[in-house]
Symmetry: C2
Subunit: 187 residues, 2 copies
DNA sequence: TGTACATCAGTGAACGCGCGTTCACTGATGTAC
DNA sequence: TGTACATCAGTGAACGCGCGTTCACTGATGTAC
């Protein structure tokens, strides 16, 4: 049952992508390798042919999740009309769709408190993603303001976390809307 | 070995307080009942004399953690010099000490992503705490501005989450400082 | 107030279960000649 | 290019372990008379 090199590489990628979804949906601790491999249409035994440990796949999954999410935000910014890039990024991030689909969204918001308790590899990937996210937001601000972007990203991440934990849909919508408005209303 | 009613009530409270600390420090999923009862100087078998399930103690622990944290913030605001209440609240929350001691800090920041995946009871307590936190912040703003307070609380929670997950101490300090400055610098 | 009995907080062993990880096995792929 | 052998991706059973939960037991507290 040996697979070709191309197939093997493809399988590995599929596992990382499945892991990125499952971890964001259910959290690191609550996601078993069984569940993760099943999401990649494999049985759990083969996991260790691709990774050394759960920690290692978590590391790659975080990297993949953040990279693809920020790539997508950058595209939105680029496609926005002149000087509307900031509004596009904020609108895309602070949106009900993002809140309702953690498996495709920002890993910092979906896994934030668990990343803080994770190993060095995971935190390193998360830190790199965070820096890039701040850079993307800053690049859309007048004067490419890194300091302002830091505060904005704090609010973006916090708003998604809060909008997901609150049990009142109207309140949840309000958290997203008011956080968005705060930063768009500025002169 | 039966205990008096007063002792029993005191033990129950001690378990809730220990749970509030352990959960905030290690997360819901990663905290065992064994560890939790040991933190209250008891053996794990007695847990079910006080609670029906792990979920139930989580619910009470979240309630306790948020109530005591917000009580403390309110005190700080009340003790602050005239019209300095907002600065006091923001400074106390967005501070290295809060970042470094999750076990005594804000449960929304420490457990945010896990609360979103928890049962109704936990989310209800978290929602009540969130509403109260927004109210406390709003009460310190000129014009008691609820809408503004919503955006500020998003940034407060997000900044603590990010400051804990980032692996660079200087960056972590900067996240807290810049988020604080953004809201204090306003006219 | 004193006494006899029922209650129950806390202990520590035990339960089934699912976890991360390991392993023998299979058979198609890769490689050496 | 063909052939014989080594490699290894994937399977599914098995491993030890710690989890949440249950239980028999103890003995001090609470209660009924």
């Amino acid at each position: 049952m040996r697979k070709s090199k191309a197939e093997t590489a493809e399988t590995r990628t599929r596992i990382v992508q499945a892991a990125a979804c499952e971890f964001r949906k259910h959290g690191f601790a609550a996601t078993g390798l069984n569940e993760l491999m099943a999401a990649a249409s494999l049985t759990h035994g083969g996991f260790y042919k691709h990774f050394e440990s759960k920690e290692q796949v978590a590391e790659e999954a975080i990297g993949y999740a953040l990279t693809s999410m920020i790539d997508s935000l950058e595209e939105d910014a680029a496609e926005a009309p002149r000087s509307g890039g900031f509004k596009a990024v904020l609108g895309r991030y602070l949106e009900a769709e993002h809140r309702d689909e953690p498996e495709n969204g920002c890993a910092l918001a979906a896994l934030g408190s668990e990343i803080a308790r994770s190993g060095d590899g995971v935190r390193k990937k998360a830190t790199a993603g965070y820096r890039r996210l701040v850079g993307v937001v800053a690049s859309q601000l007048p004067g490419v303001n890194q300091e302002e972007a830091t505060a904005i990203v704090s609010a973006m991440v916090g708003a998604i976390v809060i909008s997901r934990l609150v049990d009142d849909p109207a309140l949840s919508d309000a958290v997203l809307k008011r956080t968005r408005q705060h930063f768009l209303a500025k002169p």
